[in-house]
Point group: C2
C-alpha cells in the first residue's frame, strides 16, 4: 500500500483502497474521526473541495501519512529490489 496522487480523485481512491484493505467500513472511519459517513463518502469519491483537515483526519485514522515528492520523482523503492 503506497499510492501516488496529484488529484482529489486519486486521493479518494487511495483512501478507499486502504480502508478496504483494513477491512473497515466508512462507519468505522466515522467513529474514529467524528466525521460523518457522508463526509467520508464524499471524500472517497474525490471531492476536491474537501478541507485539508478532513483528509488528514481520515488519513490518521487509516494510519497513513503524506509524503510530498518531486513529480516524476526520485528513486523508487521498487527500483532497488
Amino acid at each position: 500500500m503506497d499510492l501516488t496522487a496529484r488529484t482529489a480523485e486519486k486521493i479518494g481512491e487511495a483512501l478507499r483502497r486502504t480502508r478496504k484493505a483494513r477491512g473497515w467500513t466508512q462507519s468505522d472511519i466515522s467513529a474514529r474521526t467524528n466525521l460523518r459517513v457522508a463526509t467520508i463518502s464524499s471524500l472517497e469519491n474525490g471531492d476536491a473541495g474537501a478541507k485539508l483537515a478532513t483528509v488528514l483526519a481520515v488519513m490518521a485514522a487509516l494510519g497513513l501519512e503524506f509524503r510530498l515528492v518531486e513529480r516524476g520523482g526520485s528513486l523508487e523503492i521498487e527500483d532497488i529490489f
Copy 2:
C-alpha cells in the same frame, strides 16, 4: 526534497521550503495557480481549513505530488544509503 507530513503545518512548511528551493515568491505561485498571494500565505502557515483543491494546485505549481504511505511505514530511502 522529499517531505513527510501528517499535519497542515508540516504540509505548509514543505510547500514553503520547496517554493524557496525553486527561488520563487508567493506571487509566482499565485500567477501559476490563480490563487491569491494571501491564500498561498495562509496555506504555507498551516491552515488546516484550506481546501484540498488549493493544496493540490500549489503542489502542481511546484512540481510536487503526494504519496500516501503507511505511517511508521516501510523502509526509508535513508536507511539504505
